[in-house]
């Protein structure tokens, strides 16, 4: 295999990967750092200090950290409790509940926030109105426009991060680890404290850190529930700066400084998460499948089951129903009665109003395009990372890590700096800038899914193909790609569905004709077009749920075929 000096397929793919990552990911980040730290060609920290000590940016920073900390704690508590209930107790319908608890993941948090605004805004919220009418009082039950309002809503839609990690760990954990403690004389309480909790701690921590990361970078909920009462987080502050400044350099500088903080926090969180997950001494996967000992809840069985059902009704069903009901209203503020309802709004946003029609169309083609391109690009980069031995790979590996730690707001800011004419290309205010941003934003998903698939393909499979006389290209085409196809398709959907409802990045990049669904819902809500916002949100929910069902079908069929073949 010594073909020194020859520019073969390996070098071609390597250079291609490098180019993609530099242009799409590295350059925007570099420009953000450059803008923050370099003034007139000199390194200058004073600007950074100035931005950070300004009261409003400092407040936003503090609020972001506080919010993320609280959301992390509540999500960890809720997620761990439910995970334990559905894996280790005799609660009824556990398997169904396990699926139901992941549904909040499908609901975009900003649509949840929108629904809860209509239910719990201090004056007009349906629940608050009902409460005040019921008790003849003028104080609302709960004001959702508050710090704790934001914490609660984010918890509702982010806790599955913890739930999925912890229930997975509890299921995979070898039950004999606990049984041997019982035989050794330990009671259930001691076992939970000394064996179970220490063993699932990495899963809990890793889920909690994901929540923390997501919450730090999340725009929708604080924007809908906080801005109104002057609560700003880093992402919403950046949005405000960019939108109100009309491109002034001071505003952009302030935004980049805050972005730098976001990137660094994300990097720290991800580094910690990586360390926790990798700590090798916690390999607890079961040797053979034995059913774990199940705790009998006895008298608590029904109350806890009801708690789970109520939780799901409140966090999933109620907001969804609210979205659709308000979407059906002739005018916002009318009582929720059949006589006040009409399908006119849905018809209007789907077929008549150019703004919403554009938004749906934009979201569809941007997500499809970005998913396709990112799937292929991620495939190529993963191939180089996992399978190839080329010099300078460490640099590519470093660049490959970058997309994982880039919050949506940072990416948006980065592409603004990169593609607004600085390098002779100005695509600001066009769909292309959103397209480029989506690729950067979802590259991480594609890399993860593709490399996982590639790692499953043992080198000897390719070697066997080469030994049978196939060229590297033919081996790639006939052996590697067919084997990783499921991983690539998974990557496609992992990008397509979230992109369809994207808000955090798009909201900084949209122009007059390039609203996406998320942006349209958000701006309609801001402009007081509440019924149209809800109707569009309803359409978005149907698209999302439809998409999720399609994927489930696809992967179930695939699984069946695999099992049948084996």
């Amino acid at each position: 295999m010594n073909r020194t000096g020859k520019f073969g397929i390996a070098e071609l793919l390597f250079v291609l990967s490098l180019l993609i990552l530099i242009v799409i990911v590295a350059l925007p980040v570099l420009l953000i750092f450059w803008t923050s730290f370099v003034v007139d060609g000199h390194f200058n920290l004073s600007a950074v200090v100035e931005v950070l000590t300004k009261p409003d940016t400092f407040e936003a920073l503090k609020m972001s950290l506080l919010l993320a900390a609280c959301v992390t704690v509540t999500c960890t508590a809720v997620g761990t409790l439910f995970a334990w209930l559905v894996t280790r107790t005799d609660m009824p319908f556990k398997e169904t509940m396990k699926v139901l608890f992941t549904i909040p993941f499908m609901l975009p948090a900003f649509i949840g926030a929108l629904a809860w605004k209509m239910l719990l805004s201090p004056r007009a919220g349906y629940i608050n109105q009902f409460w005040m009418a019921l008790f003849g009082t003028r104080t609302p039950l709960f004001n959702i426009y508050s710090f704790w309002g934001i914490v609660i809503i984010e918890t509702m839609y982010l806790f599955p991060f913890v739930f999925i990690q912890v229930s997975g760990a509890l299921e995979r954990m070898d039950p004999t680890l606990e049984e041997s403690a019982r035989i050794a004389g330990a009671g259930l309480f001691t076992i939970t404290r000394k064996i179970t909790i220490p063993l699932i701690l990495p899963a809990v921590v890793s889920g909690a850190l994901l929540v923390c990361l997501y919450s730090l970078a999340h725009f929708g909920t604080p924007a809908i529930l906080g801005t109104e009462v002057g609560i700003y987080t880093i992402p919403t502050k950046i949005y405000e700066l960019i939108h109100q400044s009309a491109g002034s350099f001071t505003a952009i500088r302030a935004a980049t400084v805050m972005s730098v903080i976001l990137v660094l926090s994300a990097a720290v969180i991800l580094y910690t998460q990586n360390r926790v997950v990798k700590s090798g001494r916690f390999q607890i996967i079961a040797g053979k499948s034995v059913r774990p000992t199940v705790l009998k809840l006895r008298g608590l069985r029904t109350p806890l089951f009801i708690l789970c059902i109520v939780y799901l009704l409140v966090t999933v069903v109620m907001p969804t129903v609210t979205i659709f009901l308000v979407g059906l209203l002739k005018t916002y503020g009318l009582p929720l009665q059949l006589g006040n309802m009409t399908f006119e709004n849905f018809y209007y946003v789907l077929f008549k109003w150019k703004l919403t029609k554009d938004a749906i169309f934009n979201s569809l083609y941007l997500s499809l395009g970005a998913a396709l391109v990112t799937m292929v690009a991620g495939g190529i980069i993963s191939y180089v990372l996992v399978k190839m031995k080329v010099r300078g790979k460490w640099f590519l590996e470093f660049l490959g890590m970058l997309p994982f730690s880039l919050p949506g707001t940072v990416i948006a800011l980065g592409v603004i700096l990169t593609w607004s004419g600085r390098f002779g290309i100005n695509i600001y205010n066009t769909g292309w800038i959103i397209f480029v941003a989506y690729i950067a934003r979802y590259m991480a998903f594609s890399l993860k899914s593709n490399s996982a698939a590639l790692e499953q393909v043992h080198d000897s499979l390719v070697e066997a193909s080469r030994a049978s006389g196939a060229t590297p290209w033919q081996s790639l085409r006939d052996v590697v790609i067919p084997l990783i196809r499921p991983g690539m398709i998974a990557a496609f959907f992992l990008i397509f569905l979230p992109a369809l409802r994207e808000l955090t990045t798009s909201v900084l990049l949209y122009g007059p004709t390039t609203r996406t669904i998320g942006v349209a819902i958000y701006t309609l809500n801001e402009d007081g077009e509440t019924v149209y916002a809800c109707a569009l949100a309803g359409v978005a929910l149907l698209l999302i749920v439809g998409g999720e069902i399609l994927i489930k079908r696809f992967f179930e069929k695939k699984k069946r075929l695999d099992n049948g073949g084996a």
Binding site: S180, I183, A186, G280, G287
Partner: protein, 352 residues
Amino acid sequence: MAFVELRHVTKRFGQVTAVDDLCLSIEKGECFSFLGPSGCGKTTTLRMVAGFEDLEEGEIEVGGKLISSSLKKYYLAPEKREFGMVFQAFAVWPHMTVFENVAFPLRIKGVARHEIESRTKHSLENTNLTKQAQLYPNELSGGEKQRIALARALAINPGLLLLDEPLSNLDPHLREEMRFEIKDLQRKYDFSIIYVTHDQAEAMALSDRIMVMRDGKTQQIDTPLNVYANPANKFVFGFIGLSNFIPVVPRDGKAVLESAPDAGQVSDSFPPEFAGAGRATVACRPAEVDLLPEGKGGLRGVIDRMAYLGETVDYIVTVGDVEIRIQKGRREPRFEAGMACSLAFPKPTWYE
């Protein structure tokens, strides 16, 4: 009264009866194996003794104390039974050091600190783990992990040690070493052992008595020697070692092959108890068949395959459509593939 008593123990999982009306007694200091293919109910039985499974019917007594009873709905919690147990997947706790793993049962029991120290040290010495005491299990090999599990199980000096396929995750030479180690420890501490395995050689080497199980039912309870020499039925015969099962029919008072009656006799008599059925099965071990030059024995066949296995030579002889496996020492006269030969069966075992 025996140390361990299982009386009419039955366990069902839904429609499947995993253990069916099992009765069993094990003496103090005895090493007793449950042997059978996977799914025969051996692990379920062990888990019922350990207290991890309830009983549908029957009761279990250990040391004269009732610990499980379906009738009285009484089940002593596993942590109160004071047994030692070793699991197939080792189940050593990855977040504790070797020392902490072994000390855990003593700590739970509330033993005084200095005594924990000395007893744990002693256990670690007995299992050759003194050097590894402060390491974490994942830094150790499979054999060492299994020794931790053993030391931990023995830490409280249990009267009964339960072993659930403890060696099947180890490589063969290590397995043999561990067998001796378990035996040595038993001699030192004098506990009873219930040993679950699907490996007949392991069961033979370790046990005072073996129970062979199939589909939840006891097939035979006996010493290793008797289980091998006098299998209770065809299943036990086949499970316990290499075997040939030759279908025969009677002709002129002799037993001949059903598919090749003209090839000669398998035996010069046909047991009267099978005469009514008109057919029987002759079971024999490959080493117990005489392989003779053509014309010397009762049954004529052709050597189909021959393989040297070092100390032994392995033959497949075809007679009619029956293949008979034969093993002979390397010093005995050799036959080549394709040669005609004769077979004699000096020690036939008859089954229906």
